[in-house]
Amino acid sequence: MTRLSRRDFGKLLAGTALLGSLPSSSFAASEKPVQGGTLRVVMGLEPATQVEILQNAGGAGVGGRVVEGLVTEGLDLSIQPQLATSWSVSDDGLIYTFKLREGVTWHDGTPFTSADVAHTYSFLKDVHPRRRNTFANLVKIDDSDPHTVVLHFSRPAPALLPALNANSAPIVPKHLYEGTDPRTNPWNAKPIGTGPFVFREWVRGSHTLLERNPNYWAPEQPNLDAIIIRYIPDAVTRLAAFEANEVDIGYSTPVPIGELARFKNNPEFKLDTEGYSLGGGLNQIFFNLRFEPFKKLEVRQAVAHAIDINAYIAKVWQGYAIPSPSAIVPAMKHFHDASIKHYAYDPAEAERLLDQAGYPRGADGTRFTVRFTANPFMSQVIDGANFIRSALAEIGIRAEIALYDHPTYIKKLYTEGAFDLDIQVLANGYDPTDGIQRGYHSGNIKEGLAWSNHAHYSNPEVDRIFDEAAYEPNPEKRRALYVELQQILHRDLPAVNLVQYQPVTVSRAALRDHLIDQQNSSTSYARAWLADGGA
């Protein structure tokens, strides 16, 4: 009963806000948030557990709605406070001191303290595939003051802060995780957090239900009464759900990419491309450098010259991508080297290089045949494989596409090395040490390890730059190192970098203030509200 009346009150408020601001042209800015309503989020992938302490899965669980990090990244990539209110770094880059927010309680009523942070980080270091790197040199966590956490590193950790958000390193309560195996802790499936919404239920295969946290630390937040996260695995059914007004928002291009145009021209919907900078989505082709013909640089250059990047963006990505000729995407603006350009689209030059390399066209016009694999994670990558196959056919290279499911793909590429060309979406992540190093550092040529250096690229100069930059506390020096790295990679060409693809968020226009940080599908919705009170 109270819920209904609150929603009606909200509608009334919205009405007055609208009337009051009609004469002004900028009424959007003066709108007052409507209280109440249920937000319906659609996800394609259902997570195996609800908190991201074991992995960064494609499908977010409860995310920042229920669990929080020490900091969060604003849309401009600036680091902003969340559970930490302020922080400082020692001059040598070895000691990070975080002041924690006071008066915060877990959803079960227990006070949140520095012991929770210390306990979470110490087990993330062991179980999380990415935080193992982040915290590799973390030697001591000082939690003697309940509202201060001090992290002591043995080597500088310049990439630390962007890894401490709600998605990468969510803080979970020590009193529920202490003495348990975090991998099998039952609270992973019914998380207790400090966030603006409280976990209510997870019906596997169907949905997760969250309700408003009345004791949230930020005053007057959140606006919404509840959030339903629905898991709909089929993209066409998600499209139907949007059209039938059954969902309010979906992330990472939730509908088939060719259907985005319909939403673009519909005033009831909004398309957003912001909020994906930390993902660093990069689409590239790796060469297997162990075997002929791609052992030869000329052959790799020929492949680069055979690709018309503008046609590739238009046909494969329907325009939702920008060229990324370098290994560090433009979105990672602190490190991206904009001076690098794609190899010119020039099939004649490509043919000349192949002739020179000793691969003349045979009687049937084919120079040689290669095994071409594609990452099954996104359907556009498979479209991309078909595009590249045609482009290579033009210059006399026959590429035979082999499509596998996920585990087979990993086994074939990373254990058996059974490929010549591999079209990938190996993401940059939030920092070069997170997503790029693994693909090019010779120390990461590891048979059987997924996402390792499967091209078998080995250049001592590149290794040196990676090792130096990882611990370089000076931002300018760090950038200079990574610029040098990008130029070497562009010259050596262990991979042809194609595009930074642009994931799209589709939402109902009535949903406001949902886009406040770089967390996309893990965002907290702390300030989000529904102008029509929800459908």
């Binding site: 249920t38 992938l45 195996a48 557990t49 992995q55 960064n56 899965a57 494609g58 179980v127 595939p129 990415r130 193992r132 790197n133 991998r183 099998t184 992973n188 499936a189 019906v203 596997r204 295969g205 169907s206 949905h207 239900l209 509840a226 339903i228 629905r230 898991y231 709909i232 695995p233 089929d234 066409v236 059914t237 139907a240 759900a241 059209e243 039938a244 059954e246 994670f377 596998y404 499911d405 996920h406 585990p407 087979t408 793909y409 990993i410 086994k411 074939k412 993401a427 590891k446 059987g448 390890l449 997924a450 996402w451 390792s452």
Partner: protein
């Protein structure tokens, strides 16, 4: 042989069946390249050597294959289906959450398929060669040849998107507090489209089957006798023709249950129906053989029980069957 001893015999027969199902499935899963550690690495987009090998060790994947199989038999011997490797919860818990909605979907589909199929088949047989027969023949041919996922998508576009009468997917209204009749009505709204999509192919089969077996029965002596006795048209049709024609149909329906359970994967995906089909798909994708074997075992039991029920139904339809045995 009494009914009870027959049931006992059938259940006894199920034990070697289950043993074969488990052993064969175990080896089939092993044939697929990659394992759960590869899958987790692939889906999370990150992996470390230590993490991957620790995972393999904790799940016993580093042991010889025969040892893993014996370990699984050991788990079964304790009347447990084990712990899912992907979800870290007991397999029985995952199956118990999904089985009811799949049984509901499959049960409704079979009922719909039988009711509509037999009705259409009877109309066709009684009007053989006439326009009604031709029209229904064409309709069944269409249903027979169109894949269920496409029918599902078309049903969604027409009834959920265009007309807005029914939901696009899901199994029930989330957070609904409806009870009693309105609850059933609400569930029915979610159930209708997926069960129609799943039933479509079988409607066609049962219609064709009913038609041909009725045409065969119509020519038999007992039907002529019944007409000669002076029974009216309806009594002859229902009691003497349809009832006899139902035996091949019910036999086929019993055999189809396994197929419908399999077909549920596609329909459950299109309608985001939280059932076993999708769980199976996830288990295969993740190479979670403990979960997969649990599902296969459960499905085998469902099929065995369904066949026992069909057996019993046959005795009702044709009392000679029980007597002969």
């Amino acid at each position: 042989m009494t009914l009870l001893s027959r049931l006992g015999f059938l259940l006894l027969k199920a034990v070697p069946t289950v043993f074969i199902v488990v052993t064969l499935s175990f080896f089939f899963v092993q044939l697929a390249p990659g394992d759960i550690a590869d899958y987790i690495a692939a889906s999370s987009g990150a992996a470390t050597e230590e993490g991957t090998s620790a995972l393999r060790e904790s799940l016993g994947l580093d042991r010889p294959i025969l040892e893993q199989l014996l370990h699984y038999y050991g788990t079964l011997a304790q009347f447990s289906l084990g712990q899912s490797m992907r979800f870290d919860v007991p397999v029985t818990e995952l199956i118990a959450a999904r089985l009811p909605s799949t049984l509901l979907l499959v049960g409704t589909s079979i009922t719909l398929a039988l009711a509509l199929g037999i009705a259409a088949g009877a109309v066709m047989a009684l009007n053989a060669g006439r326009s009604k027969d031709r029209l229904l023949s064409a309709v069944t041919l269409v249903l027979y040849s169109i894949p269920s996922f496409w029918i599902g998508l078309m049903l969604i576009i027409v009834f959920a998107v265009q007309l807005g009468w029914l939901p696009t997917g899901g199994a029930e209204k989330i957070g609904s507090r409806a009870s009693g009749f309105s609850y059933l009505l609400e569930r029915g709204r979610y159930l209708l489209l997926p069960s129609l999509a799943l039933a479509s192919y079988y409607i066609a089969i049962y219609a064709r089957l009913t038609r041909s077996s009725m045409l065969e029965v119509i020519r038999q002596d007992h039907v002529r006798t019944a007409v000669a006795k002076g029974l009216n048209r309806w009594q002859v049709s229902l009691r003497h023709i349809v009832r006899n024609a139902l035996i091949p149909v019910s036999t086929m329906a019993g055999m189809h249950i396994a197929g419908i359970l399999g077909g549920a994967v596609v329909v459950e995906t299109v309608f985001s129906w939280p059932g076993m089909g999708r769980l199976t798909y996830e288990a295969i994708n993740a190479r979670d053989y403990v979960l997969l074997l649990g599902i296969l075992l459960t499905s085998a039991f469902v099929v065995i029980i369904a066949n026992i029920l069909v057996d019993l139904l046959h005795r009702v339809l044709d009392p000679r069957i029980g007597a002969r045995a």
